[in-house]
Symmetry: C2
Subunit: 251 residues, 2 copies
Amino acid sequence: MTTRSAPDRLLSVLGAFDHEHPALSLTDISRRAGLPLTTTHRLVAALTDWGALERDDAGVYHVGLRLWEVAALAPRGLALRQVALPYLEDLYEATHENVQLAVRDGGEVVYIEWLSARSAVGVHIRIGARWPLHATGVGLALLAHGAPMLQQEYCEGPLAAFTPHTITDPARLRRVLAEVRRTGVAVSSRQVTDDAVSVAAPVRGPGGAVTAAVSVVVPITHAQVPVLVPAVRLAARGISRALGWRPEQQT
Amino acid sequence: MTTRSAPDRLLSVLGAFDHEHPALSLTDISRRAGLPLTTTHRLVAALTDWGALERDDAGVYHVGLRLWEVAALAPRGLALRQVALPYLEDLYEATHENVQLAVRDGGEVVYIEWLSARSAVGVHIRIGARWPLHATGVGLALLAHGAPMLQQEYCEGPLAAFTPHTITDPARLRRVLAEVRRTGVAVSSRQVTDDAVSVAAPVRGPGGAVTAAVSVVVPITHAQVPVLVPAVRLAARGISRALGWRPEQQT
């Protein structure tokens, strides 16, 4: 027996789908959602009728087109991405490197857009993928401009290491964040993988608050960070302006 | 009092959001979902806790990042778009015109992706936007390769006119569809607006069934349709191959 509320049960069916599990049978959904099979059957039928799920010929369920249409309205998802895309394309044209747009959710970055040439090697970040703030360029840009309380708590928390170069010392992270605020750009070198460096800049909304970050990720072997900095800053300012930010109005 | 099921009530809250209503107050949601304010309040709270909705500082609700992350898994949404994007970018590079990717939902096309230069004029299609099949290049490509029953019913149904050039005669639509199947490309001239022509080609899935369509839309004043045809066909075949289609295996 379950005492979970009706909305909670329905949302746990949607939550059963993730990057590792984009296609699920009814039994899979039941197990992952922690719901009896009969309940799952009823909820999946309702979600399928509405178009939030789609059932393929093999009887396997996928996320449906109708949910995608509603989710396309998310201001921090596709809506932000649609404003930013022309500037990301310009940045890609100018650099021909991996170009990324990300927002913050708690202590993680969520990638909203990612452009790369078909031939690009190395970085493979899925849209919707998450990564801790301290390890990525976009994460450092977002953390450096976050609320003081967020920064304090994050710096005190455990800082996971992904390479020997990942920042795991709170005092060093604080110095890096101060540097990001001073220069307006975040450089994360070999922190996620041993062979890549990312250069990121903050994107501001109408009120001046940092709402997203844009970055270029390049192989360490031919990284020309000083050359990339102005291009990334320019793209970030372009997106900020398109979102309604006006630098001249800032105090 | 309402006799609607719990899933139905929750989904009606999500369904209250659309392109004309991307931001709603609690009262707006209550009215658009047809639910009492107390019920709406409880459901919106559950959706906000989960991350399907987000509440801004002004108390207005938007679609949330978590829903966008789940919806990014939709095979006919972002997942298709992620496979197709490099080919769409190549097509954009080759033509510098509006490039679109669409799927069919009932008698309509739904635009999944749309690339255009920041300076591009004319066509402004939102991602997630819908349009009737007979008026657009992508729609004709999808309809021409749809099930015979779908084609028969669609041709017999009312065919809305958007310009004097829109196909509204069933017999003419059948001839156009046969031509699309014969040539492998759909040309829709001045059917949506008086000043644009679209050239579209079908995208096939692993089994050979047409699952999407790609198109280029250009101003009628400098449309060079014969030049665009090979580029659009090439992009469609590239996406089809990336999806797992193998022409040599077809009977």
